[in-house]
Every structure is written in C-alpha cells, then in structure tokens.
Amino acid sequence: MPAQQPATPDRGDIRDLIESHLHLEGPLLPILHAMMEAYGYVPDEALLDIADALNISRAEVHGVMSFYHDFRTIPAGRHVVKICRAEACKSVGADALAENALAKLGTVWHGTTPNGAVTIEPVYCLGLCANGPAAMVDDRIVAGLDEAKLDAVFKEAGA
C-alpha cells in the first residue's frame, strides 16, 4: 500500500486547478474534490482564489466546504480508514469491532494514530450491507471484517 504523497500547495497550481473546472455547471464541489485529490485537504489559501473565480464570498466557500464530511482543512494521516457504523454493519458486530480497534490504536473517531499513519473516520454505509462489517481503506473497500482482518488492514497501513 503506497502512502499518499500529496503535493505542497502552490498558488499557481491552485489557480490552474480552479480554472480547469470553470466550464462546468455548478463547479464548486468538483473544485473542492480536485483540491482534496491534489493535496489531501483544501488549503486555506485556496478559498480566496475559489471565491474570486466563482464570484462568491470566501465565507460562502467556507460554508460549503464545512458542510460536507469529505472536505478536510488539515491533512489526514498517510492513510484514511473509514469504518462503517451504519445499521447493517451494526447487526453483525461493527460497534464492538470499531471500539476495539480505536482502543488498540489509541485514538478516537476522526483521530490519527500517534505515528501519523492512519486517520480513522466513521462512514455511514458503503453498500456492502449483506457482507459486513465493511470499511474503506483510502479508495479500497474491504468487507467481511473480523478483528484479525481489520488488524491486518492497520498493520499494512503502518498503524
């Protein structure tokens, strides 16, 4: 599992990224996704450029960004593991699995392991509801989890 190595935000690159989405109808979410893709978070310095390009206020950009769970204002750990907390996974023991994992890693929901390897996020349904518990490791989905399989996921991620 290669660790993500996001680029360091550069003002010119940020403006290019914004520019490349301006032909879309409703370009703000695609722009914010592009920032996440490029940098792993939405750099503070991007907000003003986005606001300028879309002719809205910086506060409006902040308002949109902060509404959605996916957009971060600071970088996450090298890997993000999202553990499903929704009903179908709960019915097969996801609560105990997640609590146990958090305790072992010494972190909390939305927290990052002390070595910076893994950020743990809750997610509400990955659509693998007959094969739970499920989790998402960066962009890869894993299902049929038990303690051993989840431990292996964390070990591979360097937690």
Binding site: H69, A88, C129, D139
Partner: protein, 499 residues
C-alpha cells in the same frame, strides 16, 4: 476454459482481484462481470460448460487450482440456484451476465431497444408509456415516475435537466451501486429516454463518494456511450441531443433528499429547499428538472423494450412491476433479489434470506434504511408493497431489509437513529437539528431508568414528524417509535430504577 468472475465492489472487497489474477496467470479467458446478486457466494466465479454457467463460491485464492482442474465443489448451474431461479429479473436482467462496459454485449441482451422505440415516439407518447407502466419512484417516496415526467414535459423552458439521484446512503441498500457497477448502460439508456420524453438535453448522475467502483465504471460507460453515438448531439444518430456527466457527492447523507441534492449539484451547502416550487418546475439552476432514483431510471429501458403492460402485469395493488429487494444485515443468504411486489416480509427474511447469519432467532427487521421502521416477527405476514407497509406503520423506502438477531439492543438502535440524524441534519429545520440531539439525551434518560422520558420522547417524535421539511427529520421517528413500541422490554426502566 471460459470463466466469469464478479467485479462488483462486494467481490473486490472480498479478494476477487487476486483471484482474477491467478486465473489469467494460468492462461484462462476471464470475463469480469457484475454481481449475480447472491452476495453470500461472493467472490463468485462461473465456469462455462457447454454454454451453461456453473457457479463456484465463495472463492478464496486457495480454491483457484481446484476451480481450474475441475475438482472444486460448486453449486451447479447458476441460474438453477433457488435464490436466483425464483426471481423475476427485469431491471437486473443483464447484471452479472455481461461485461458491464461491453456495449455490444449490452445490445445483444436487449439493450438500446427501449431507446430506439422511444426515439420513434413523440415526447408525450414516451411520458404516457412511463405512466402506463405504473412505475413509482424507487428511491423511497414512491411518487409515480410518469406523472413527474409529465410535469417537466409540459413546463416551458429553454433548458431542462434529468438528474439521477445516486446518493444511495441508506444502510441496508445497495441496488443502485450494483446496477451502476453491473449494468451502467441501463441507467444511461434510461436517462436518455427520460430526456427524449421531457425535452431535456442534459443529465447529471449525483453519485456518492463512498462508491469508488461505481464512479469509475459510470464514468467509463458515459465515455463509451458518447464515443458510440448513444449520447451526444443526436441520440443514436437519429434522436434529439442528450449528454450527461457524473458528479461525485461529498459524504452528506441528506443530499439523497432531492432538493438538497440539487443545491449540492449547484455547488451549495446541501440544505433542503422548501417545496413548492417543485423541482419538476424549478429544479437544477432553477430549470425544470426530473429527479429520479437510479433504479427508477434503470428500469425505464426494460419498460420500453417489453412494453408498459408487460411491466405493469407484475405486482400487487398500486405497487406495479418488480422491486429489487436488498436482503442485508445479519442474514444467511443476503443479496439482491428482484421480484414482483407482494411477497410477505417473513418469506423474504426466512425462506429467501435463510434467517440470520449467526443462526440465532430473528428479533427485528428494519425496512427502508435508517429512516425506516423496525418490524418484529409478529408482522411477518405484511405483503411487500408501498400501501401495505404504510398501513403497518412503516415504509418500504429503497427496499433494503436489515435483519437483526436476538442480541440486538433496540434502545441502542433507537439512540443511533437519533445520533445519525444529529450528525447528518442539514440544519434547516429546528425539530431535526435540535430535536435529534435532544432525542439522544432523552433515550439516555430512559436507559438510566427515567420512565417519564418515554412520554417526552414520543412527544419529541411527533414534533419532528410534523415540523421537518424532509424525510431525515420527518422519518427518524419511524425507527425510534417502532423500536419503543415493538420492543418495550429493551426500554424497561423498572429494573434500573429499583437499583
């Protein structure tokens, strides 16, 4: 040896890609297909024996040599497995059968016939056909699809839109994901037919970010459809213009609500809009917009291919056609089961689903996602239909069923419903934004032995039901109140109070 292997997200999450590599490394022809829906058998491989596919699964990497030398114990012909054989597959007729991105295979299995037929009709003819099918919104609200189309078709505007709601956030549901990953062209064709019908030239699929496989496959499918003239300046080279884009959500459950979705698509906070105006008249960017669920739109091609009457002949009462049930949670034989409306709930859970995975007694079934009511085994004779479930104090929603065994703590499940509502509330309506937080606190008081808090919880739920604009605040009381009334033992306060 010709082998088919599922590439559905479930199969991949259980190691299908490693199995695929082992099969191709051994020099065999491998076709990656969508899921057959029997997810308890995933990763499922099928070996072609004289034109009949035989099923093997759940496979592990260690099983591959035995699969290839013919010594692995299988399940016989896939389509003879009772779970599969007893279905009526209309919407999902190609899912699991073809390579999802093979447009020729799509055509060879009946694809694009519906669109060809729609192009030969006038717009109102298309709308009439949709109405005659009796198809109702499969996202959960159950509004007649054809009537929604009619409103948009009759609206005067320079630009109209088809928006597909692929923000399938309900736990226990995965039909949208499965069809997008297994037969993406059916959704594209359905959207194009909708465009022809109402006079819309542009479509958007708002797809949740939790579905990376579906995002990738839909994007590729749109490119292929465009390159082959299915989409573009003239649909199939003879129809009106229609093109579409895939847009990715950002982890907000409430964006599955249509007005919130439209705001999100426009680049705003996903806050719910008051209705009226209806999205059909003032939707995306203020223009007339059809907002339909993935399954509604992906069902349109088969309705136009086989005729509205063929579809309407299936079903029960005002619930016409088939419904892709998603049998999930703690269940032995989980997966997607497409069938005509009308099956009793108990038959779905016990006969088709085979009871719980844990082998323990079924305690509760939540139908319709996190905003759906819990049902107890006493209600297992309820037939699966919109009105029938409404009459039983619940809803069918997106037709997901989550099974719980006797170890489930229904007070904790009710608490979670409130907690989830608090996390995901868009904040527009006070009963939802504040009520959900107070709901968690009130349930904690019940757990601590406060009997009087039950009346308070009931009252709070009434306020949320009556005072919320959308289903998030309005329907969270379904799981909460059904848990409270059907499973009073889990809310018992006397023992704790005596201590």
């Amino acid at each position: 040896m010709k082998i088919y292997l599922s590439q559905d997200a479930v199969a991949r999450a259980l190691g299908a890609d490693d199995i695929a590599k082992a099969i191709t490394d051994a020099g065999h022809d491998l076709i990656r297909v969508g899921s057959r829906g029997m997810t308890w058998l995933e990763p499922l491989a099928e070996v072609d024996v004289d034109g009949v596919r035989h099923a093997y699964g759940p496979l592990t990497l260690a099983d591959v040599p035995a699969l290839l030398d013919g010594t692995l114990q299988g399940h016989g012909p896939t389509e003879d497995i009772p779970f599969f054989a007893n279905q009526t597959r209309l919407t999902f007729q190609r899912c699991g059968v073809i390579d999802p991105l093979d447009l020729d295979a799509y055509r060879a299995h009946g694809g694009l016939k519906g669109l060809e037929r729609a192009i030969g009709m006038d717009g109102l003819g298309v709308v009439e056909e949709a109405k005659a099918s009796g198809l109702r919104g499969r996202g959960g609200a159950g509004f007649p699809t054809g009537i929604k189309w009619e409103t948009v078709a009759k609206a005067e505007a320079d630009q109209k839109y088809i928006v597909c709601n692929a923000d399938e956030g309900d736990s226990g549901t995965f039909a949208d994901r499965m069809i997008m990953e297994g037969d993406p062209f059916s959704l594209i064709e359905g959207m194009a037919i909708a465009g022809v019908g109402v006079g819309a030239t542009k479509g958007y699929v708002y797809l949740r970010s939790e579905y990376p496989d579906a995002i990738r496959i839909m994007n590729e499918a749109v490119k292929i459809a465009r390159a082959n003239g299915v989409l573009g300046a003239s649909v199939l080279g003879k129809g009106p213009a229609f093109d579409m884009e895939i847009r990715v959500g950002a982890g907000a459950y409430v964006c599955g609500e249509e007005t919130s979705l439209l705001n999100s698509l426009e680049g705003k906070r996903g806050v719910v809009r008051a209705k009226p105006p209806l999205p059909a008249l003032e939707g995306f960017l203020g223009k007339p917009t059809v907002v339909n669920n993935v399954i509604s739109l992906a069902t349109i091609p088969v309705i136009f291919e086989k005729g509205a009457q063929h579809y309407a002949d299936f079903g029960l009462g005002r619930s016409r056609g088939t419904i892709p049930l998603q049998i999930a949670g703690n269940v032995k034989h989980g997966g997607l089961y497409e069938v005509a409306f009308g099956l009793p709930l108990g038959e779905i859970v016990n006969t088709i689903g085979g009871g719980t995975r844990s082998g323990r007694p079924v305690k509760a079934v939540q139908v319709g996602g996190p905003l759906g009511a819990y049902f107890s085994p006493d209600q297992f004779d309820t037939p699966f239909g919109y009105e029938e479930f409404d009459g039983a104090g619940g809803l069918i929603g997106h037709a997901g069923l989550t099974v719980f065994d006797d170890q489930a703590d229904m007070l904790q499940m009710a608490r979670f419903a409130m907690e989830f509502c608090a996390v995901e509330s868009c904040g527009k309506c006070t009963p939802c934004r504040i009520g959900a937080v107070r709901g968690v606190e009130t349930i904690d008081r019940i757990a601590a032995g406060d009997e009087a808090a039950k009346e308070l919880l009931t009252d709070l739920c009434e306020t949320m039901t009556d005072g919320s604009l959308c289903a998030l605040g309005g329907f969270t009381p379904y799981p909460v109140m059904s848990a409270l009334t059907l499973f009073p033992d889990d809310f018992a306060t006397t023992k704790e109070a005596a201590e």
